[in-house]
Amino acid sequence: MIQRRPLRDELRDAFDSMSEPAHPALASRIHEEIWSRPTPGVGMPRLAAVIATLVAVVVVAGLVLIGRHALPQTVPAGHGGLPSGAATAQPSPPAGSPAPAVAGSPGAASPTSSAAANLPGFTCAAQSGGASAASGGTGPVAITTVRAAAQSGVDRFVIEFGGPVPQYDVRPQASARFVQDPSGQSVGLDGSAGLSVTVHNAQSHGSYSGSTDLRPALKELREARQVGDFEGVVSWGLGLTRANCFRSYVLTGPSRLVIDVRQ
């Protein structure tokens, strides 16, 4: 090996010649910016954090109280999450079977076994439900949580909302390929079949900060990916191991849309 100068020295020279010290004007510019900003430095962020925490506690407490008293009565008034047996996706008639509104404690992901008796049966055709936009009246409903997990006999996909579950439809499809909204680009999910979940008058950005590409790798549900969140329409694609029957329904406390894929 040829004896060369230590790399350290060579690098030092190279960095010295290719970099430049800061111009004094930069320091004054930064000083001006900082002194002109009311942003507090030390101490204040902690105060702000304390205030934010207090506000959050009050808001959460309020929501819990409202949820206990109001939600169970208001949400089931919608069209309900009953599957339409016909092969075409038609809105559920109001006279159809009632939505299985199960008021669970917040955080309870699965309906209790006593409630399971009220759940709709599995079908393999498109399903729809949820409250129509007209009954909502005010802007898109915020999505707060999305999750997927295996339950007894089903792989469950859940979207939680900050208000009544808006109108939705779930359409089976023969591949796990989805078109993204609004880009129009096609995206392939894990699996060989899919369910396309579309929620109208809903919004994900600004309220849902979790993953938009869940890969629970369950027996039936391989992947769930948000493929659209645009102009009040949120869509998720579910990649399934195989074409399979499913059921969709609405639960309250917290308000959520549940899609079960049969194992």
Binding site: P6, L7, E10, F15, A22, L26, I34, G41, M44, P45
Partner: protein, 175 residues
């Protein structure tokens, strides 16, 4: 520029913007040098440092520790700012045609003896790692804070980056 010695009593007495700008002045030079190495352009480097300074000021309340920790913390914000600037679209459109070189990998450039060109062809994390460790003499745990990785990852990053510049690097050479 008034030099404020790291760890001097003034630093602890000052609060708010005064404390921040006093600490900032010490690290402004190395920060600007790092940005010029990573961006290869003075104006872009100044913008990145200024943006980083404002971000640092907004988060200053969360910082704990003394001068050493301020330096690594601020440089990590600068490095991140530069990384984002490089990723920006204008960078790919505007900067690339300005580097007309028949050689394209850092290894080839280094072999040709053009160390500066080779450095400018390295990835942003490699550049930041080499600069902090060799030019600023930062110990590995500080380099790790700049890169926001573990000390072990920082060590291997420094070593691999150095190897790109000198493929026959002796592993026993003191890094």
């Amino acid at each position: 520029m008034v030099p404020v010695m790291a760890g001097s009593p003034t630093e602890r007495v000052l609060t708010g913007p005064a404390a921040f700008t006093a600490q900032l002045e010490v690290v402004l030079d190395p920060a600007h040098r790092l940005a010029t190495v990573m961006l290869g352009d003075r104006t872009a480097a100044e913008d990145a440092v200024q943006e980083a300074a404002l971000k640092a000021w907004r988060k200053y309340g969360q910082l704990k520790g003394g001068a050493e920790s301020f330096r690594a913390w601020f440089l990590s914000i600068v490095a991140n700012e530069c990384r984002m600037a490089r990723r920006g679209r204008w960078w790919q459109v505007v900067r690339m045609p300005e580097l007309p070189t028949p050689l394209d990998s850092p290894e080839e450039l280094a072999a040709a003896g053009d160390l500066r060109a080779a450095i400018s062809k390295l990835g942003p994390a490699d550049q930041a790692a080499l600069f902090c460790h060799f030019y600023l003499d930062m110990p590995m745990d500080q380099v790790a804070r700049v890169l926001r990785v573990s000390p072990a990852a920082a060590r291997s990053r420094v070593y691999r980056a150095a190897q790109k510049l000198r493929p026959d690097l002796d592993p026993s050479e003191d890094l």
